[in-house]
Structure formats: C-alpha cells, structure tokens
C-alpha cells in the first residue's frame, strides 16, 4: 500500500499545531499525522510541546521490527500511545499550560502499511474519504462525545485502509465553513493524481475558509493507493 500525504497550515498567527511524518522502510509506509487545536497562546504552546514530543517518539520507533507485522505493531503502539498521551497530559498540567478542566484538544492517526489506529479528543474533525459505488463519499469518524461525560479521555479506534480510501483530519475552524459536499468534491480520491494536485486541492479549501474568516486552521490528508 502507498500513501499520499499532504497538509495545510494557515500561515498567520496560528494557535494550532500540525505534525505529519511519512517514512518508508523498504516497501512499508509509516505515516503519522497529529493535529492540536488551540484558542490562545497557552494552548498553542501546549500543542507545540505535545507535537514535538510525539515527533521525537516517532523518530525513535524501531521501523524494521514494526514493519514485519503491521497489525501487531498497530495494536502495541496504540497502547503505547495511550500511555504517552496520558503522561503528556500530566506534564502539560504540571507545567501550567493546561488545567484539569480544559485539556488540550488533539487528534491523530498512525499507519503501518494498511493498518492504522486513530485517537481523538476535542473538536477536531476526522473524515473518511472514499469512492464507494463510483461516487466520492465523505463520512465523519469519531463524533465528539456528549457534553458532561466523566473523565474526558482519548477515544481510540483501529482499522484497515481499503484501496483508494483516505482520511482528512482538520481543525474545527477549518470544517466550520465547509459542507461535506464541498470536501467530497475537492478531495474526490479518484481524481487526485499525485501529491502536488492533492496539496493544491487542500490549499484551495483552506483559502476558501480563510476568505470566510477562518482562523487557527490546519488540516492533513492521508490517501491510500495500491
């Protein structure tokens, strides 16, 4: 399985943080996309810290060992990611960048070959893009939990990429101004031929949102290809 990975980050005063890493060991792709959204400087710094720590974690992974059994790798790393996120929450709280009542909004996806796990907390939006029945479709994943739920934790899912499917991860500020149909038309998987075109399409969506007043926007897309 191959991937096309592209990202968009609004080049202005931006309190969100974006991390996108795409490595290939032999023929096995490793993709890691994390998005943190913030509304103020403190949350912006917290997002920068979290993404920086996760970048260091990703770079230290034993790619050769993980690539041998992607399904098992994803299971093991999902547990490890849960522990990492919990530790980072504690560090951010003890460092004064977050408070117990308002934890950092962060979401991400990690893929090894066609196996992946997602994690999400907060207001980021995750969309599944595919070309089911010859038409592009967009479906939301991991809907936000209801207000008032106890112990706000990360929601996690594992899965397998199908051929020519994709995932769009974007801040709420990015999606607020877009209809699902606009996302579907712009990022219709079948028409996206290469990284350059995918990046142009994603930036086009971003410019559209900027024109409508969007701020603190960021988005990342993973598109699978056989």
């Amino acid at each position: 399985m191959n991937f096309t990975t592209v990202s968009y980050w609004q080049a202005a005063e931006n309190h969100s943080a974006l991390l996108l890493q795409h490595y290939c060991y032999g023929n096995i792709p490793f993709c890691f996309l994390v998005l943190c959204s913030g509304e103020n400087q403190s949350q912006g710094r917290a997002g920068a810290y979290l993404t920086g720590q996760l970048l260091g974690w990703f770079r230290r992974l034993p790619f050769r060992r993980l690539g041998r059994n992607p399904k098992r790798a994803v299971s093991v790393l999902e547990r490890e990611m849960g522990r990492n996120l919990e530790r980072l929450d504690k560090e951010l709280e003890s460092g004064g960048l977050t408070r117990s009542g308002s934890l950092l909004s962060a979401s991400g996806i990690f893929c090894v070959d066609d196996c992946f796990f997602l994690f999400s907390r907060g207001e980021q939006k995750l969309f599944l893009l595919n070309k089911a029945f010859g038409r592009g479709s967009v479906r939301r994943l991991l809907e936000a939990p209801e207000e008032g739920t106890d112990a706000p934790g990360y929601v996690m899912r594992q899965g397998t990429f199908q051929q020519d499917a994709g995932i769009l991860l974007a801040t709420d500020t990015f999606c607020r101004f877009l209809e699902d149909s606009q996302i579907r038309e712009c990022l219709y998987v079948d028409e996206l031929d290469g990284e350059a075109q995918a990046r142009r399409r994603l930036c086009e969506l971003g410019r559209r949102c900027e024109a409508m007043g969007g701020r603190d926007m960021a988005a990342g897309v993973l598109l699978s290809r056989r």
Binding site: T5, S7, W9, E13, N14, H15, S16, A17, L18, L19, L20, Q21, H22, Y23, C24, Y25, G26, P29, C31, Q41, S42, G44, R45, G47, A48, Y49, T51, G52, L55, G56, R59, R60, P62, F63, R64, R79, G82, R83, L85, E86, R87, K90, E91, S94, G95, G96, L97, F117, A151, G153, Y154, V155, M156, R157, Q158, G159, A218
Partner: protein, 289 residues
C-alpha cells in the same frame, strides 16, 4: 480495551525517576518558573524541564551542588554565543545549590539514535561533522579561546529538523587558563586530556570529533571518510589535523560524493534497507529553538 477499540484513559503516576523534588519545585516557582519533569542526571547535578509561568517558554534548569563548577559553566555558556550551543538564560544560587537556566533543546540524543539504528551513513556523518566542526571552531577563535573537551554522542542532540546542537559545557575550559583538571570521557577524549601534565590545544577537540564520527559511521568508516577520521584521531597531537578549519575543509571535500549530499533524515541505512523520509512537516507558532 473494548473490542470496538474505544478506550478511556485511567490515571497513573509519573515514574519516580522523572518526579521533581519539592525543594527544587518550590525554588523555581519563587523565581517564576514551573518544573515539569526531570530529564537528566549527572554525577553532581540534575536537569529539569521547566516552563516560565508568565510566557509559557520552555527551558532547561541544571541544579548543581558544585557552585564553582556551575559559575564556570555559566561563564563559558554565556561566551559560547553560537547556534550550536544552547542559549544561556541565567544563573542563581540558593542554599547549597546553584541553578543554571538555559535553552531547552528538543530532539533526541545521538547516543539514543545510535543505540536504535546502529550507525549512520557516510553522508549524514559528514554533515553532522561539518556542523560540529564549525561550532567548535567558533569556540577556538574567541578572543579568549575555549576548548570543549567532551565531544561524545550523549552530548550531541539531533533536533527535529535534523540539525545538531551540543549540550553540556561542564568540561569546557579556557585555552589560555587551563584549570589543570583531567576532564573528558575515556574513549572520546584525546590522550593528552587524560594524561597528567598533558598540553591541551585545539587538536584535542579534533581528536574528540574524530572519535565521535568514527562511532557514528561504525564499520562504514572506510575510504575517504575513514582517512579523514584517521587524520583526526592520531595519538600524537602534532600528527593530527591541527584545528577545526582543516577538519571542515577535509569534510567538505567529501561532499562531492552524491551520498554525502543526502540530508538527515532523508536516507538512513538500517539493517540493509534504507528508511526514506517522504514527508516531514511540523508546524506550530510556538516551537522553541
């Protein structure tokens, strides 16, 4: 974990080795800094990751029981105003301890990377060598020249963007006013550094850099790179390349090789395969350093 993959986090404690002692946390708090966790420990000191309460800026705080050493290190760090070295923020003393505040370097140590991956390819070794040589050359060319004296993988940080930084000026000294101590790490320190009455010179740091590059390249230290490393690691100082300017020139002459132009982490040799970096994006308005 439930079958459908949803999981709720349960609370757990930070490991004991990362906890910050109350005394240090209280003192830092009084100075406007909040301690996050312990990130390192040496023979006489501990290093904490701290954050400034007012601005949220991150820093590293080295708490040392040897005040004289901390004062000396702060002088040297303040003089080493070069991108290779962490920025010096301040020094204060209270009670038995000295607190040295400096820039926190995000990334992983070269020692960790070597442990994980075994070795680096020639191109990356050369690139790291050039960066280190240029920074150490800055120290040697100061009006009051300094020697670093502690080049080793544990003191080299690889940043997220692939550039390197050097930590720990604890073994550094002024060339014209050596303190007479035999500082350095066996295996990386030049023979004259660890010998009683040895005469120090910039060639001592050349030896340390050569040994570090040898460790990085592993059994890939052959051919022209091997020759440069051998010229840096001759036992007698007068037989080595004399200073970092010569080392930089020698490493740059290797860059005509196509492999040497590969940028970290573009291509890394690992177990016979190559790890290719296809996408490397990290965006935030608040990255430090």
């Amino acid at each position: 974990m439930k079958k459908d993959g949803a999981v709720k986090m349960e609370n757990s404690r930070i490991s004991d080795r990362e906890k910050v002692p109350h005394e240090a946390a209280d003192l830092l708090s009084g100075r406007g800094w909040r301690a996050v966790r312990r990130v390192g420990r040496g023979a006489f000191c501990e290093v904490y990751l701290v954050t400034e309460k007012k601005t949220g800026r991150f820093a590293a705080c080295k708490v040392s029981k040897k005040k004289e050493l901390a004062r000396r290190e702060s002088d040297l760090l303040a003089a080493a105003a070069h991108p290779l070295f962490p920025e010096f923020y301040g020094l204060w003393e209270q009670g038995e301890n000295a607190y040295l505040l400096m820039e926190y370097i995000w990334g992983g140590s070269l020692e960790d990377y070597l442990w994980q991956r075994g070795r680096f390819c020639a191109g990356q070794t050369v690139r790291v060598g050039i960066e280190l040589a240029q920074g150490i050359r800055f120290l040697h060319q100061l009006p009051d020249p300094m020697l670093y004296r502690d080049l080793k993988p544990a003191n080299v940080m690889i940043r997220q963007d692939g550039r390197v930084r050097l930590l720990d000026m604890g073994c550094a000294c002024r060339l014209r006013r050596p303190d007479g101590s035999r500082a350095g790490t066996p295996g990386f320190a030049a023979p004259e550094q660890l010998r009683e009455g040895g005469v120090l010179s910039p060639a001592s740091d050349v030896y340390g850099l050569g040994k570090l590059l040898e460790r990085m390249a592993g059994d890939g230290a052959r051919g022209r790179l091997g020759q440069v490393i051998a010229a840096c690691t001759m036992p007698a100082p007068e037989d080595r390349l004399p200073d970092m300017q010569e080392v930089t020139a020698a490493l740059l002459s290797l860059c005509g090789d196509a492999r040497a132009r590969a940028a970290f982490p573009g291509r890394m040799k690992y177990g016979g395969h190559r790890i290719r970096c296809i996408g490397n994006v990290w965006e935030s308005g608040y990255k430090n350093g």
